[in-house]
Symmetry: none
Subunit: 411 residues, 2 copies
């Protein structure tokens, strides 16, 4: 049975992690920065060296293609993303891209010709850390966003995605989308603690939690920290404490599968001796069940509406993004299941708690995902860590699932 070269893959993962390396052992390779460009350049160089042809589309997605016996057949796609969070780790995204490279190089080593072509993809701006929303480029690819919308997204400094893409030279000439695929697979670290807690090293991912994003603004009255008596203040931090508690309480009401996160919280003007006039927060709620997520959304709107009516603050809740729960393609799931079984992997079936490019891609092509554990479930963190043997096991499952779908040509 053929297997990948684990040392080669690991070496490349560590090499890529030197680009944007942070003091605590993580990576800062935020989308469309100079570091992102360096990561892309290295990936393109490696793909070219093993004989792939490269195409870059107008939103900067990179496709590296290995020919199949029958070039007119739809390809099998493997991939993820190379951008990171500002304080991200070595494996999130990168693993899925470089595992694709390893699969192709293994096929080269073994002189295996597949019936279908195989492509590796690196999607632009998956993290959304710089340009919201996340997964914007796979979103354009699958027709969820227009290219113009994506180009117009701005970072905190008001720089536009389109201009920043052009600046790093990855505004390619290939039109976005309209690439038919036989199957697509994304190998990823779990970014959660479930596999580790259950002592499994392969997650057969059958779907993804639905996600809703919101912005919440709470308007009070900016005033001097000294003279105003407490009872005359409209301090939005103090006023919002019970509302924040209510928001988190949604996670209990819809437990154990619900997730509630306030990732961004800013008090304005943010001056030590001034009672803030306004606070802004982001809210992220998730649930694998569509009707539960809808109920959470309704509950959240009720909480905010009630707070707005009953308090001396003005609350404004804005819907920012919605991704419905996803069920992956049964054929792709079965290919992963079979590969795990053939390899004797210690696997379990599970949902993904995080969004992935695979979610958008699944709208236009048969798709599924493979998870491997990450230490303590940590991700979006410089301490993110995965074991070499799990990386190896996951990539071997990926290899065999891809071979199952691409078909081996035998003379």
């Amino acid at each position: 049975m053929i297997t990948i070269n684990s040392d080669r893959l690991w070496k490349r993962l560590m090499h890529m992690a030197t680009i944007g390396a942070t003091p605590k052992g993580g990576v800062c390779r935020v989308a469309l920065t100079e570091e992102d460009k360096m990561g892309r350049d290295l990936f393109v160089k490696w793909c070219t060296e093993i004989g792939c042809t490269i195409e870059i589309d107008a939103i900067g997605n990179i496709f590296a293609r290995r020919a199949g016996k029958q070039s007119q057949l739809p390809a099998v796609l493997i991939g993820s993303h190379l951008d990171s969070q500002p304080t991200g780790g070595k494996f999130d995204g990168v693993l899925g891209v470089l595992a694709g490279l390893e699969v192709l190089e293994t096929l080269n080593d073994q002189q295996i010709l597949t019936q279908h072509p195989i492509e590796i993809v690196s999607w632009t701006n998956e993290e959304g850390a710089r340009f919201a929303p996340a997964m914007i480029a796979s979103g354009v690819f699958s027709g969820n966003f227009s290219l113009e919308y994506a180009y117009s997204r701005e970072d905190k400094e008001g720089k536009k995605l389109g201009e920043e893409l052009e600046k790093i030279g990855y505004n390619g000439s290939t039109p976005v989308g309209h690439r038919p695929y036989k199957a697509t697979f994304e190998l990823h670290i779990e970014q959660g603690p479930i596999l580790e807690a259950k002592d499994k090293n392969i997650g057969i991912v059958t779907g993804v939690q639905g996600i809703r994003w919101y912005d919440l603004t709470i308007q009070g009255q900016e005033t001097h920290a000294g003279p105003s008596p407490m009872h005359l203040r409209r301090d939005p931090i103090r006023g919002t404490i019970p509302v924040l508690a209510d928001i988190y309480e949604l996670a209990e009401k819809y437990s154990p599968d619900a997730r509630v996160t306030i990732g961004y919280l800013d008090a304005s003007p943010g001056v030590r001796n001034t009672v803030p006039g306004q606070i802004k927060i982001s809210i992220d709620i998730r649930h694998p069940n569509e009707s539960s997520l809808t109920s959470m959304d309704e509950d959240l709107h009720k909480i905010i509406h009630k707070a707005d009516l009953e308090s001396k603050f003005e609350y404004q809740l804005t819907d920012v993004w919605y991704a419905s729960p996803v069920n992956f393609d049964e054929g792709c799931i079965e290919a992963v299941r079979k590969a795990a079984k053939v390899l004797g992997a210690n696997s379990m079936e599970m949902f993904s708690g995080a969004g992935h490019d695979a979610v958008y891609v699944s709208k236009v092509a048969p798709t599924s995902m493979i998870f491997i554990p990450c230490k303590d479930g940590l991700s979006h963190n410089e301490l993110e860590s995965a074991k070499k043997e799990d990386v190896e096991a996951g990539t071997n499952v990926l290899l065999h699932a891809v071979l199952e779908m691409a078909g081996v040509f035998q003379e």
Copy 2:
């Protein structure tokens, strides 16, 4: 009974407000800018016209002196500052300076000769909006800062206070400090809502609240917003909600005079789909009573220590600054009290919640303050507003308090 000329004072206040006037009716006359120079020039011109002699010290404080019968006696000082916040109002500081001018001109009108000389002062850079710390020039005057330290302060563009002072030509030749005073008075808008709420138009200010500043860091565990089950998270925002409530509760425990403000609050990394790893907040607590402020400080340390011990977060509380409560001079307070009574003013005794030049001056001379209401308690705001009749009442109280201390010469 002699009283001031309210129209003349109001006209001068409005005239001064044209220098640096902002579209919303406020003033931008930030320290040591061209506008500040224009405001100073106008003030010096007015003082010269009514026969005062002018001295400017090495930190740019302007002293305008009206001779007394006995020139060897210590003067009575009246004053405040002419600089403003970037979006400041027409009255903060300016009132205290121009009311001094009006007092002297009223004495001229009435041909009153006082035993003690009287001086008006305009202190440099009270606001601290451009050069931190605030009240730096009265701080040098009273020996709290060295002149070298003040000169070395830099604005956001790296320009030094000393050089900017020289540029506008107000680096005078008089040494800073060592001017003995019989009494000093500062008339100021309240910058808070208490007088308005109690329907009073004169505040007899008996002292200034003590202030303690802290930085608090709460360390949790940064992780992805999706995969981590809620019970495995260490989310410092969620974890801190009860602690924030406890901190604000200190204001109730030490009510009605305590103040508790969290002006700065930041979650890091501040990304929508990441559970924050850390939050940082600033805490500002104030109380006019030293022992109460000490108890608040002890309580705060207990709250944080308990949270640190009993939670899954690490709390770090750092002391940043302490200004002890100030009790003004009983003789000066009594002079204001008596003036308010003689004039039949609708007065109350109160503490100041904000810092003022009078705080530093009180270290080296008998000092007190007079407050008048400002609309909605608003200050450091272009909408800052005061009623003409309150300005008149406050300046009459100032006049009579000054006469009480300066003594009228009768042949």
